[in-house]
Amino acid sequence: MIQVNDLVKSFSDFRAVDQISFSVQPGEIFAFLGPNGAGKTTTIKMLTTLLKPTSGTLAIDGLDIARHPNEVRKRFGIVFQDPSLDNELTALENMEIHGVLYGVPARVRTERTEKLLKLFELWDRRDSFVKTFSGGMKRRLEIARGFLHTPKILFLDEPTLGLDPQSRNQLWSHVKHVNETEGVTVFLTTHYMDEAEKVAQRIAIIDHGKIVAQGTTAELKEQTKTDSLEGAFLALTGTTIRDESANPGADQMRQFSQMWRR
């Protein structure tokens, strides 16, 4: 379903993603783990046509992303790590515009919007402007919106960041539900090892732009001779804390280079 070969992304002299290759099978839940600034979000941006790779090839559902961006966009849905809502519109209007852009028929749109907003407990606030929402509510709305259409692949970039345990539980049970009933392939990143262990069938660990290990949780544990995914993760990526301001992550580097390029 996803095929990545020798993918490289450089920002001036910084290599955010360095020669990675992996593949995700149809119907699989695949977790992409790594410390801050390891290259997770940059990889997702390239997979979702937001960023062009420096070299290497990416294919989704057998389609080359560089050559068929429009066809590829028809096949995936994404919940971004950072906000992507229109604050000047209401919750309902945000759902509506998403539904129209993704070609969800009006009747289905209305039904699903109601179901999803109720599921993520936003139905009572459907007519409030998003700018009046708390951080957690915005996050829930982003997630609800991501489920409005049924894509072949769902990208979830740190979806549980800032969510309370209740919403987290709702999210993962819904992810499992669409994966099981509709065969949606899921590609997710998270910092919570227990979540990855619970939902993902296969895991890749990325650090400094390179994939350091991939396999099932059991395989990773065996490879590192540890007894938990958390232990395996630490054994593979070290125990140093990646302070993003001292050791800028890929995103910050990119913003910086863009600022000076002009």
Partner: protein, 248 residues
Amino acid sequence: MSAIYAMWLREVKRYLRSRVQIVASLAQPTMYLLILGFGLGPVFQEAGKGSYIQFVAPGVVGMSILFSSIFSGVGLLFDRQFGFLKETLVAPVPRTNIMIGRTLGSATIACIQGTLVLTVCMLAGFRPVSWGQFPIALLFMLLIATVFAALGTAIGSVLKDMQGFQIIMNFLVMPIFFLSGALFPLTNLPAPLSVLTHMDPLSYGIDALRSQLISVTHFGAALDAAVLGACAVAFLALGTRLFSKIEI
């Protein structure tokens, strides 16, 4: 098609909800109209050119369309910073449609704004020579708005932050306004200034508005329409190209 409509509707909704901003954005053109209009009126009259209010009103309308359309085009910058741009860029819709929806939305807003300013002008004493040509004047307003909304989207696609916007304001938008003949007649100008005014698309826009509203024209309405149409096509093409190349 529905994506174009959705993006258009979003722009218009956001505009209609910002009532305070609508009123505030009328302040600047009103000042130009009233202070320059009445301040320069006597000199203009003495030079044998008739009423300055009559002359400057179409210029002020053109100015408000220019600012309004460029601003909302550059609204792309805010969408980039607040993240909504990503949502539209990954949508399974050709980016051309997203760009066209946004641009038409910006153009619609600029047209509403221009009509409001025209109303203010009439309250200040401006009278169009004939109401029959009014619909054509409105069409020209829409054409001017499209030209600059497309330019705004093109600029917004390239800019990354607000500092860039300041540079564009000072070195592109203000010269477009001042060189357009919004405030002075384009006849008998020194050669270099004359050349620059002929290169400014807004000169043709304001001339077109004058041709319909006060029956005065420098280039002739046909040439105005041709130049504006060509600019609209060129800027839409440029905007589409730059917009579809956006990386985040």
